[in-house]
């Protein structure tokens, strides 16, 4: 039996020795840590965020967001427009605060990886057992009809009427009743996040987890990773309390597509071909709010029950997203009296989102003071897609019965009928006027058979530094078009199996 340590339990500098040190405890880190620990490997997990359970979670965003989100949810990807980026920073990572949607990597995407990046062994057939294993471990299941809101019904009816393909979501949940609090951590543990699936598996099999522990440098010798330097942080102030040095046979990084490249750059590793932090993809998305005459209470049900997959191959994904009123109020253009007037229509609102596949690349850099800085500038194709996405979403809202649709554009803020949709194209909206956000990030340490075009090989091992693996979203080389957690977990499980099959090569 392993143990979870938090900063308040630590009173001095620490030196540790283990076979495998995993940095990050989210979708990738949690999955691989459990895979290895279950097979008798001595695993040590470092997590920068705190350790919280459902007893600590709160439906109050003022408490939940600073506790569970990096930078209290204020991370920004710089560009014009800048893109608000949210990711988890706690044991369990973003799986604690995501919507829990689980899709296998689309076949066309895997084919592209083979063709463009030489990832010949990653095929639908070879990935099948890993998807199955992940789905079993995190209880991927369709939503029960009891858990769906009236808004889901109205949108389902509208999309069906329009003849578009709508798919029932598969989520990692057990008996989800539709509390709609996924983004603040599931208060009843019905969402099967890494926090309550993979992490307990790893700990029960002897893994040790240090929460409030930030990896600051990966140590390497003669082209081989040999350990990690970390800081134990004071949870209140975020400042360094103690130092930690870990010696390991193998280092696995799973800090996410923004933090991992910053760690590699700070460690001066893996960047001979200047690929670390390049090729950043962020699946930009924007939202539309429909105002209805009838009460829809879209928040009274599961976070997201369906997705519109009609336009996936065009690079457009549509879904509803159940969020807290404060998060909707932020996105309204008004403040003061007008904001409250609008928010009094809260029970008459449906919030929908469109996610567009990336057609350009951004970059993640390490600032001189050590923080990761992300840059992304949408290109003309993404711009066109965003306009088209907003137009289609408006069409869906009006077909569902909306009397008004609020748009994410600075210069065109609302439409009052379906006939006004062409205004979206007529207004010559500038890219900088679109309000964007994202929760997905990929590509910054991408997999590629050619070391000049990628950072890791098809097993996640760094081309330039042996015994250094990466298993987070950063290794995904292209946009997936759908939610990435199952892909990340399946790839991490596959890497875990590869390490186990090559134990004699990697582990003492």
């Amino acid at each position: 039996m392993g143990q979870i340590f938090t900063s308040d339990q630590i009173t001095k500098d620490i030196e540790e020795r283990c076979q495998v040190c995993v940095i990050g405890s989210g979708a990738g880190g949690g999955a691989i840590a459990a895979e290895l620990a279950e097979n008798g490997i001595e695993v040590l997990i470092l997590e920068e965020g705190g350790y919280y359970t459902s007893k600590d979670f709160s439906s109050d965003p003022a408490k939940a967001i600073p506790m569970l989100y990096r930078d209290a949810g204020t991370s920004v990807i710089l560009g014009s427009p800048s893109i608000i980026f949210s990711e988890g920073r706690c044991v369990g990572g973003s799986t604690v605060i995501n919507g829990g949607m689980c899709w296998r990597t689309p076949e066309r995407v895997l084919k592209r990886w083979q063709f463009e990046f030489g990832l010949k062994d990653i095929t639908p057939k070879t990935m099948e057992p890993f998807f199955e294993k992940v789905e079993e471990r995190i209880n991927v299941a369709p939503q029960a009809p009891e858990s769906l809101s009236k808004a889901e019904m109205l949108i389902h009816q509208a999309v069906t009427k329009l003849g578009y393909l709508i798919r029932r979501n598969r989520r990692n949940q057990k008996n989800c009743t539709g509390e709609g609090l996924c983004v603040f951590g599931c208060p009843t543990d019905r969402k099967q996040s890494v926090l309550i699936t993979y992490i307990p598996r790893a700990i029960n099999n002897g893994a040790r987890l240090y929460a409030d522990c930030k990896a600051v440098k990966i140590l390497a010798k003669n082209g081989r990773a040999v350990g990690v330097l970390a800081h134990i942080l004071d949870r209140e102030t975020g400042k360094k309390k103690y130092k930690m040095k870990i010696q390991a046979d193998l280092v696995i990084v799973a800090g996410g597509a923004i933090q991992t490249p910053a760690l590699l750059l700070g460690s001066r590793l893996g960047n001979a071909f200047k690929q670390v932090g390049k090729n950043f993809l962020c699946h930009p998305n924007t939202k539309v709010i429909g105002i209805f005459d009838q009460e829809v209470r879209y928040w009274a049900g599961v976070h997201q029950g369906h997705q519109v997959h009609e336009f996936l191959e065009e690079g457009l994904l549509f879904a509803l997203g159940g969020v807290h009123p404060s998060l909707v109020a932020i996105s309204l253009p008004s403040f003061g009296k007008k904001n409250l007037e609008m928010m009094e229509l809260w029970n008459y609102m449906i919030v929908g989102g469109v996610l567009v596949d990336d057609t350009t690349y951004g970059r993640v850099m390490r600032a001189p003071w050590g923080s990761a800085l992300a840059f992304y500038q949408i290109d003309h194709i993404e711009y066109e897609r965003l306009l088209r996405g907003v137009a289609i979403l408006s069409e869906i809202m009006f077909t569902a019965g909306a009397r008004k649709v609020l748009l994410p554009f600075f210069s065109l803020q609302e439409l009052n009928s379906i006939d006004e949709i062409p205004k979206i194209y007529d207004y010559k909206i500038k890219p900088s006027e679109i309000e964007l956000l994202t929760v997905h990030a990929f590509g910054t340490t991408r997999m590629c058979a050619n070391p000049r075009r990628g950072v890791v090989d098809q097993w996640g091992e760094c081309h330039e530094v042996s015994r250094l693996f990466i298993v987070d979203g950063g290794i995904i080389p292209t946009s997936l078009g759908v939610n990435p957690q199952e892909t990340i977990m399946a790839l991490a499980t596959r890497t875990g199996q590869y390490i186990l099959e090559n134990k004699s090569k990697y582990l003492s």
Binding site: W103, E107, V140, R170, L340, N347
Partner: protein, 176 residues
């Protein structure tokens, strides 16, 4: 008193909260100081470069009245109505950075405001009641919405709710 705001920046944020705070006639709960504390807590979690830039932005807002209004009276000393007009000019500015600063502070205020029980009740966000209603047992037995439940149940029973396979998109094309 505050962990992250200086007395001067707290004064600017306080003046800003008064403008941004959603309210209406006969409904203006005295929660400005609570929201200010929420803002102070959030600011403590900002990345270091933002922690450095935010006070600069706040000072620009405070003394920008000289350029953007123009008046010698700084923002936090203006009457509420003038402050509202001034902030409106920032939210409608063609300079994205000006809009973004207000958006950022607004985000923090709204988080505090709409989490307040009195305000949640006033907009009809009856979360506690919803949670009580649906969590009577371990399994989902009480529908979130009866009409939606009947609609989706019927789709499920008639096999018209679509496939539950893991592959996204159209499944038919794959199996053919």
């Amino acid at each position: 008193m505050f962990k992250n705001l200086s007395p001067r920046t707290a004064q600017i944020v306080r003046a800003l909260i008064e403008v941004l705070k959603p309210r209406k006639e006969n409904f203006d709960p005295p929660i400005d100081e609570e929201i200010l504390k929420v803002a102070d807590n959030f600011i403590g979690h900002l990345p270091s470069h933002m922690k450095f830039l935010l006070p600069l932005g706040l000072y620009l807002l405070e003394f920008g009245t000289l350029i953007f209004v123009p008046t010698f009276r700084r923002f936090s000393r203006m009457p509420l109505e003038e402050r509202e007009k001034y902030i409106l000019s920032w939210t409608e500015s063609k300079i994205a950075l000006r809009r973004d600063l207000i958006k950022g502070i607004k985000a923090i205020c709204m988080t505090g405001f709409y989490a307040h029980p009195a305000i949640m009740q006033s907009i009809g966000y009856e979360l506690e009641e919803h949670l009580r209603k649906i969590n009577v047992g371990e399994e989902p037995t009480v529908p979130c919405d009866q009409e939606a439940y009947e609609y989706f149940k019927k789709l499920e029973e008639t096999g018209r709710w679509g496939p539950v396979a893991g592959e996204p998109g159209r499944i038919k094309e794959k199996t053919e």
